[in-house]
């Protein structure tokens, strides 16, 4: 009985833990059928130009001299059925490229997008080099089974034990 119940209990415990944790994901609410407003989505690509450094749709200043007319313009342009690209281009014409919430991926500004991925690739290269260097490093000669008569000093043994302890404890 004891022999059988232990694995069963373990499996039940593991399943309970999985479902308990999966239950946490239930807290993520159901995505509502109501889709994000088109203007809100497009507005995420634009900055408020009042100097608050906030994305247009997140500017929370009521009667903001900048965001209120910009949002109004955005709504009107979308209502006329203009393409998103055209609306954005017109905003750039009106306010300059600083109106975009992300740097455009053209010219020098492309660097902003390439830097993180470049750093990642460079880092991977460095890691590959480091790993290859570490793996090539010669292994110190160790006593084989036939060298059982080799005398090891107490000090060397203590150092080796200390090293083993250090490397095996977490």
């Amino acid at each position: 009985m004891t022999f059988r119940s232990k694995p069963v209990a373990r499996v039940v415990a593991v399943y309970a833990a999985i479902f308990l944790l999966a239950g946490a994901s239930l807290l993520i609410p159901v995505a509502h059928a109501q889709q994000t407003d088109h203007a809100k989505k497009l507005g995420l690509n634009l900055m408020c130009m009042c100097g608050c450094a906030q994305v247009l749709v997140q500017c929370n200043h009521l009667n903001c001299p900048s965001s209120a007319p910009m949002l109004k313009e955005l709504d009107e342009r979308i209502a006329t059925g203009e393409s998103d690209e055209l609306v954005i281009q017109d905003f750039i014409k009106g306010y300059g490229v600083a109106v975009l919430s992300s740097p455009p991926s053209t010219g020098f500004n492309r660097v902003a997008w390439l830097l993180p991925s470049g750093a990642f690739v460079l880092g991977l290269g460095v890691i590959a080099l480091v790993i290859s260097h570490w793996r090539k490093r010669p292994i110190h000669a160790t006593a084989g089974p036939h060298d059982s008569q080799v005398n090891i000093s107490a000090d060397a043994l203590a150092r080796a034990r200390e090293k083993v302890d250090r490397e095996t404890e977490e």
């Binding site: 944790l21 993520i28 609410p29 900055m47 608050c52 450094a53 906030q54 919430s101 740097p103 790993i131």
Partner: protein, 685 residues
């Protein structure tokens, strides 16, 4: 009192300068008297800065409006609480506050290691004193908080002026969290000076072995913990005060606090490689240098005004000083490295790609790439304008686009790393350690997707979060099971015993758990909703499962401000869950306004209500309501991170070795306790 404060700071500067010069002579001459004298001077700096700060606080509490800094940041009507916090609300005061916290750290280090590590501590003392000296130069000669207000009268005679009242604290700072947030953040920033000083000292002095790492581990963890608290409190302050519905807008000042946190986290992980295997010595030294430089850089961004930010409360022309200091640090670090780089040779080799060592390498890579992404995004507008002459913006969408995948990779490594063995991990071990957690993650994903978690990043986050939590639980369970088999205690007691035997490892797991909770909270952002409408008394608004009913709109006079407040009843179903009072405050002394957000917070979601002002057309209050899912998990995660760090700081409890009555101890490791068999139920043998 202002003269007294100025004099105390001047004396502190003299002592710091002596600690540097005397310390260098002490190192060169190896004169024990000089060593002691330089150390005492370093400790005296702390007492003198405390006197300087106490003087400034006295000026605030006594409403001394002849001092410019008091006029700018206080007023008669300001509460005592905020008069106290006004110390760090402006440029001069924050720099003095930085010096104060740094001096506490320096005093603690010099006191703790007095008479110990004679080959290392004089170097550490000199480096710490040099950093203190820089800040004391600013406190005394560039941005003194004790400047008086005066005007030149007829005949060229200077007259001191006392203003009738001050301007008061910036409304954005009149929030209880602002009393805690800067001290926490500054404690993080300044705390990284300690591992920096030890790292540089060990390199310059060619201090053998990994001793400096052991000595600074706790200091680094303390600094990291403060930095974590500071970052999260800052996010909470932004959430509760700025009123835009979010907690992180990738503002330059927010980013400045995140960058050293990222490199500090990388350092905390990679030092384990050096401790256990004698590897990554060059990397660790540079990581600690970079972390410290990023702390200084963060302050530069906040203070210099080089990048516009809603957080940059105290801007001035102080930037060049910080850039000069940064350049000097870099030159010193580089010179020390080039001169002594042979001292940093690794001892060991990598046995396998699937090992703890490789996971640390990748963990460091991801953290560093995250730091590069944040740094480049923060600085890019300046760089682009400098090169192309064109102004561009780098807003939250850019940072989210880049950093969300990086964050998810990090989350994955949080689960994988701790389960890999040092040196080599076998396929059997991989299967055993990852099988159930992976299955659990996939089950979680399968449940989450049909119920609406369709956003790719949120879904991945949910899967990875469950995976990581299960790996952490399985680690505790496996260890506790072994202890249970030996001691016969229940699994919970065994888990506690396990944790206390290796607090660093299991405290680290608790920190990981906290980070997962933070990620869960962030994932909820994909499901945010908001609605804005004019609400006259009696009108209602529906958002998610809540109905908001406007009860009243009134104006409430207060001591130093007048509040326009809306009373809103929040109902869920047919039940009232809370009365909410969002308000806008108009501060008379500063002629500025501040927002007080009303939040009904649950584990599932936050109902976040902002009174946005009156509509110009109807004069009715405009309410902006947000439904932000899972935000509370972020703050909860922060608490778990702090608890985990505290746990990791507790010294290990030595294992209890129980001997059979018939046997005698052959050899016991140091620190073990021997308990007679009769007392315990089982024995180890």
């Amino acid at each position: 009192m202002d003269l007294f404060g100025s004099f105390a700071l001047l004396l502190a500067f003299v002592c710091a300068a002596y600690a540097v010069v005397g310390g260098i002579f002490a190192i060169r001459t190896r004169n024990p008297f000089l060593v002691k004298s330089a150390r005492n001077a370093g400790m005296a700096v702390c007492a003198l800065i405390v006197l300087g700060v106490a003087s400034l606080e006295y000026l605030f509490f006594t409403d001394n409006f002849s001092v410019a800094y008091v006029v700018q940041h206080s007023s008669h009507t300001q509460s005592t609480f905020f008069k106290f916090a006004a110390l760090w609300s402006g440029q001069e005061g924050s720099l003095l506050f930085w010096s104060l916290i740094l001096s506490f750290y320096v005093f603690s280090v010099l006191w703790t290691y007095r008479g110990k590590h004679p080959e290392l501590m004089p170097f550490v003392g000199v480096i710490l004193a040099a950093v203190q000296m820089f800040f004391l130069i600013l406190n005394n000669f560039i941005a003194s908080p004790f400047k008086m207000i005066g005007e030149v009268g007829p005949g060229g005679i200077l007259h001191w002026i006392t203003q009738p009242d001050g301007r008061g604290l910036t409304p954005l700072l009149q929030y209880p969290e602002m009393v805690i947030h800067p001290p926490m953040l500054y404690s993080g920033y300044t705390g990284f000076t300690i591992p920096f000083a030890f790292g540089l000292a060990a390199l310059i002095g060619r201090y053998p072995g990994e001793k400096w790492i052991h000595l600074t581990r706790r200091w680094t963890m303390i600094a990291w913990c403060f930095q974590s608290i500071g970052v999260l409190l800052g996010a909470h302050w932004a959430y509760a005060v700025l009123g835009w519905g979010g907690y992180w807008s990738w503002d330059p000042v927010e980013n400045a606090s995140l960058m050293p946190w990222l490199t500090g986290t990388a350092f905390l992980h990679s030092v384990m490689m050096q401790e256990k295997r004698g590897m990554m010595k060059v990397w660790n030294v540079w990581l600690v240098f970079i972390t410290f430089m990023l702390c200084i850089f963060g302050t530069t961004i906040t203070r210099s005004g080089m990048i516009s930010s809603v957080h940059a409360f105290a801007q001035s022309e102080i930037g060049p000083w910080f850039f000069g200091f940064l350049g000097l640090i870099f030159i010193v670090c580089l010179a020390a490295f080039l001169k002594n780089r042979d001292y940093l040779k690794s001892d060991n080799q990598l046995d396998s790609l699937i090992s703890r060592e490789s996971s640390f390498l990748f963990n460091n890579l991801i953290l560093l790439v995250a730091c590069v992404a944040v740094l480049s995004g923060t600085m890019f507008p300046v760089l682009s304008e400098w090169i192309t002459g064109q102004k561009i913006s780098v807003g939250a969408p850019f940072f989210n686009h880049i950093n969300i995948p990086i964050g998810l990779m990090l989350l994955l490594l949080t689960g994988i790393g701790p389960l890999l063995a040092w040196r080599r991990t076998s396929a059997e071990s991989l299967k055993r350690n990852f099988g159930w957690p992976m299955l659990g993650g996939l089950v979680a994903g399968a449940i989450a997707y049909p119920i609406g978690c369709t956003d790719i990043f949120s879904l991945t986050c949910a899967i990875l979060s469950v995976f990581v939590i299960l790996t952490i639980i399985s680690e505790f369970y496996r260890g506790a099971k072994v202890i249970r088999a030996r001691s016969g205690e229940n699994i919970l007691a065994s888990a506690v015993q396990l944790t206390m035997r290796n607090t660093r490892r299991y405290g680290g797991y608790v920190v990981h758990l906290g980070i997962v909770l933070v990620f869960v909270g962030i994932a909820g952002q994909a499901f945010n909703q908001d609605k804005q409408m004019e609400m006259k008394a009696g009108s209602s608004m529906k958002i998610g499962p809540y109905t908001l009913v406007c009860q009243a709109f009134d104006s409430i006079p207060n001591v130093n401000y007048t509040a326009e407040r809306v009373t809103i009843e929040a109902d869920k179903g047919n039940r009232q869950v809370m009365m909410l009072y969002p308000e806008k405050r108009a501060y008379e002394s500063s002629q500025e306004t501040g927002t007080m957000v009303a939040i009904y917070s649950t584990l599932r979601e936050d109902l976040y209500v902002v009174y946005a002002g009156r509509s110009p057309e109807s004069d009715q209050p405009v309410i902006h309501a947000y439904l932000n899912p899972l935000v509370k998990w972020i703050w909860l995660g922060g608490v778990v991170v702090v608890l985990g760090t505290i746990l990791a700081l507790i010294p290990n409890r030595p294992p209890v070795i129980v001997l059979k009555a018939a046997e005698q101890p052959a050899a016991l490791s140091e620190g073990s306790r021997v308990v007679p068999a009769a007392v315990n139920r089982t024995s180890l043998t």
